[in-house]
C-alpha cells in the first residue's frame, strides 16, 4: 500500500515532543537502584506511606462516588438557575493550583476557619493535620474528575430506557439503581478510576491542609518528595511504584482513551 510521506516539519517537533515524555521515564527506570528496591519497599516508613495513600485515596474515591454521583445527576437532569455557575465552582479544583486549594480548605475547615472553629467548639472535631484531612484534600482535588465524567455519561445515555423502566412500574430509586447506573457503568468506572488516580498523586493540597506527619498524613507523594533530601534511592523506588500504578490505570482505561476496541 502506498503511504503518504509525513512532512519533515512535523516529524522533528513530534519526535522531540515524544522524547520529552519518554526520556524522564527512561531516566527513572535506568537510574533506580534496583538492588535496594526490596529494602526500600519494605522499610516501615514506606509501607506506612503506601498504606495511608491507599486508604486515603480509596476513601476519597468512595466519598467522591457518594457525593459526586448525585451532584452529576443534578447537573445532568435538573434545570435550575445558577446551575452553570455551580458546575464551574465545583470544577474549579481541576484547574486551581492545589496549594491554593489547600489554603482555601484551611480557611474554611481549619481550627480557626469559617466552619472549622464551629466544628471544633460544637463537636470537638478537628480536620486539618489528620488522616481525615488528607481524605478531604484529596476529595477536593479529585472529585471534579468524577463529577464531569459521570455527568457526561448521564447526558449521553438514552433516557428512554428510564421511561421504559417507569412504564414497567419501577420506582425512581429502582430506575436509578437498576437501569441508570448500569447503563452509565463505563463512565462511572472511568470517573472513579480517574478520581482515584488523581487522589493517589495529590500533593499540594494535602501538604498544605493536612501537613506531613508520617503514619498520619504522609502519603506516598509526600514521602517521595521528603526522601529526595534524605534517601534518594528510596525516593526513586517509590517513584517507580507510583509510575507503575499510573501505567496500570492507563492500561485499564485504554478502551476509553486509546481508542482500541
Amino acid at each position: 500500500m502506498r503511504r503518504e510521506r509525513v512532512p519533515i516539519v512535523v516529524v522533528v517537533p513530534a519526535a522531540i515532543g515524544a522524547a520529552f515524555f519518554i526520556l524522564p521515564l527512561v531516566g527513572l527506570v535506568v537510574r533506580s537502584p534496583w538492588r535496594d528496591a526490596v529494602t526500600a519497599l519494605t522499610a516501615p516508613d514506606t509501607i506506612e506511606a503506601l498504606k495511608l495513600s491507599l486508604v486515603a485515596s480509596l476513601s476519597a474515591t468512595a466519598l467522591g462516588l457518594i457525593l459526586g454521583v448525585p451532584l452529576a445527576w443534578v447537573y445532568a437532569r435538573v434545570e435550575f438557575p445558577g446551575r452553570d455557575l455551580l458546575r464551574a465552582l465545583t470544577t474549579l479544583p481541576m484547574v486551581l493550583p492545589p496549594v491554593v486549594g489547600g489554603i482555601a480548605l484551611l480557611l474554611a475547615f481549619g481550627r480557626r476557619g469559617l466552619f472549622g472553629s464551629w466544628l471544633d467548639s460544637t463537636f470537638g472535631i478537628t480536620l486539618p493535620f489528620t488522616t481525615a484531612g488528607v481524605v478531604m484534600a484529596e476529595t477536593f482535588v479529585a472529585m471534579p474528575f468524577l463529577i464531569l465524567t459521570v455527568e457526561a455519561g448521564l447526558r449521553s445515555m438514552d433516557r428512554r430506557y428510564e421511561e421504559a423502566a417507569r412504564a414497567l412500574g419501577a420506582s425512581r430509586w429502582r430506575v436509578f439503581t437498576r437501569v441508570t447506573l448500569p447503563l452509565i457503568g463505563p463512565s462511572l468506572f472511568a470517573g472513579a478510576v480517574l478520581c482515584w488516580a488523581r487522589a493517589l498523586g495529590e500533593f499540594g493540597a494535602t501538604i498544605t491542609f493536612a501537613g506531613n506527619f508520617p503514619g498520619v498524613t504522609q502519603t506516598m507523594p509526600l514521602a517521595v518528595y521528603l526522601l529526595l533530601e534524605t534517601n534518594q534511592e528510596a525516593s526513586f523506588i517509590l517513584s517507580l511504584v507510583l509510575l507503575l500504578i499510573s501505567l496500570l490505570v492507563l492500561v485499564g482505561l485504554r478502551h476509553r482513551w486509546l481508542g482500541s476496541a
Binding site: R166, A167, L168, G169, A170, P182
Partner: protein
C-alpha cells in the same frame, strides 16, 4: 371497562387536541403520518408527557386530570408499553428483562423468574432466557418486548410502532404473532402505527389523526371505503374531492364541477377510483360526462399497473396497464384528456 382520554398539549411544532375512548374488547390502531402526534398522545396516556389540559381515565379511575391536579405517576399506572425500538435493557438477560416489571411491582424474585420463563414460553423464546438482548434478532426482540409489557398483567397495553423496527421479511410473521397475542390479552389495547397495512391487519377500529387532530374513526372497512382526508385517500390509493353537492354535480371550490350520479345536496366527499379514470390523447367523444384535459405530471409503475398523475382543472390519478400506456405514447409533461362516468363517483356526506 374503558380508556377515556382528552388531551390538549403544545410541544414544539405539534399542537395536539384529541379525545379518545377505547373499550375493552376492541383493538384500536392510531393511524397517521409522521409528526401527527400519535406517539406523543400515547406517551401522554402513559404519563410520560405532561399536557396542558385534559384528563386520562382508565376503568373510571382518574390517572390524570388537569382540572383537579390529580396525577398518577407512570410507574403506578397499570400499563404495559411496547416502545418503538423495544428498549430492552441491554445489561439484563432476556428473562430478567421480562421479570423487571414483576419485580418492580413487588413480586418475589423466584415467582417473578418463574412467571417470566412462562411468558418466554408463550412467545416461543424459552431457549433464550439467559441470552442478552443484543444476541436476538429483531423479531425475537419484539416478542421479548411484548412479553415484558404483558408479564405484569397490565390493564392497558400501549404499542408504539411495534413492527416498524423490523425488516420486511420478518414483519408478516411477527405481525401474525402480535395479532394472536393482542387477541388473547384481556384489557384495553391501543396500537400506534403509520403503516395502513399494519393498522388494518391488527385493529378492529382505526383512529386516523393528522396534525394533532382526529380526522376519521371507524372500522378498517369504513375508513378505507369512505376516506375523509387526503391522507387516508392517498393510503387507500383513491382520488378524493371535497365540494358542494348540487343535484347530480359536485361543485369544487375554485369553479370546477364533477358530474356525480349520487350527489344531492350539502357538503360531500366525492371518491373516484383511479381505475375508473380513462386517459386519451384526443378529446374523447362518448357518454362519460366528466371530460377534462390536463398534463401528465408523474408516471409511476406499481406492479402490473401504472399510476398517472394528471394536473388540470381537477388533479386526478388514473390507473392504466403498461400496455395501454405504451399505446398512448405518454411521457411526463405530456398533454392528455381524461374521462370518467358520473356513476363511478362515490358520494358521501362530509
Amino acid at each position: 371497562m374503558s380508556l377515556e382520554a382528552s388531551i390538549r398539549l403544545a410541544l414544539g411544532p405539534l399542537d395536539l387536541d384529541m379525545e379518545l375512548t377505547i373499550d375493552e374488547g376492541e383493538v384500536v390502531a392510531l393511524l397517521g403520518p409522521n409528526g401527527a402526534g400519535k406517539t406523543t398522545l400515547l406517551r401522554a396516556v402513559a404519563g410520560l408527557v405532561p399536557f396542558n389540559s385534559g384528563h386520562v381515565r382508565l376503568d373510571g379511575k382518574v390517572l390524570e386530570d388537569t382540572a383537579t391536579g390529580q396525577y398518577v405517576p407512570t410507574e403506578r399506572r397499570p400499563i404495559g408499553f411496547v416502545f418503538q425500538d423495544y428498549l430492552l435493557f441491554p445489561h439484563l438477560s432476556v428473562v430478567d428483562n421480562v421479570a423487571f416489571g414483576l419485580r418492580s411491582r413487588g413480586t418475589s424474585r423466584g415467582a417473578a423468574a418463574q412467571k417470566a420463563v412462562d411468558w418466554l414460553g408463550r412467545v416461543g423464546l424459552e431457549d433464550y432466557a439467559r441470552a442478552k438482548p443484543a444476541e436476538l434478532s429483531g423479531g425475537q426482540r419484539q416478542r421479548v418486548a411484548l412479553a415484558r409489557a404483558l408479564a405484569p398483567d397490565p390493564r392497558l397495553l400501549l404499542l408504539d410502532e411495534p413492527l416498524s423496527a423490523l425488516d420486511v421479511s420478518t414483519r408478516a410473521e411477527v405481525r401474525r404473532d402480535l395479532k394472536r397475542h393482542l387477541a388473547s390479552f384481556q384489557g384495553i389495547r391501543l396500537v400506534v402505527t403509520h403503516d395502513p397495512l399494519e393498522a388494518v391487519a391488527l385493529a378492529d377500529r382505526l383512529i386516523v389523526m393528522e396534525n394533532g387532530r382526529l380526522v376519521q374513526t371507524g372500522t378498517p372497512a369504513e375508513v378505507t371505503e369512505h376516506p375523509r382526508s387526503q391522507y387516508v385517500a392517498d393510503l387507500v390509493g383513491v382520488n378524493l374531492i371535497r365540494g358542494e353537492a348540487d343535484h347530480g354535480t359536485v361543485r369544487i371550490p375554485g369553479g370546477a364541477a364533477v358530474a356525480a350520479a349520487g350527489a344531492e345536496s350539502g357538503e360531500v366527499f366525492a371518491m373516484i377510483h383511479p381505475r375508473a379514470v380513462a386517459i386519451y390523447r384526443m378529446r374523447p367523444e362518448g357518454s362519460p360526462r366528466n371530460v377534462w384535459s390536463g398534463r401528465a405530471s408523474n408516471i409511476e409503475l406499481l406492479g402490473n399497473r401504472v399510476r398517472v398523475r394528471i394536473d388540470g382543472e381537477v388533479p386526478l390519478v388514473a390507473e392504466v396497464t403498461p400496455a395501454a400506456l405504451k399505446e398512448l405514447d405518454l411521457v411526463e409533461g405530456g398533454e392528455v384528456w381524461l374521462s370518467f362516468k358520473a356513476t363511478d363517483v362515490g358520494v358521501y356526506p362530509a
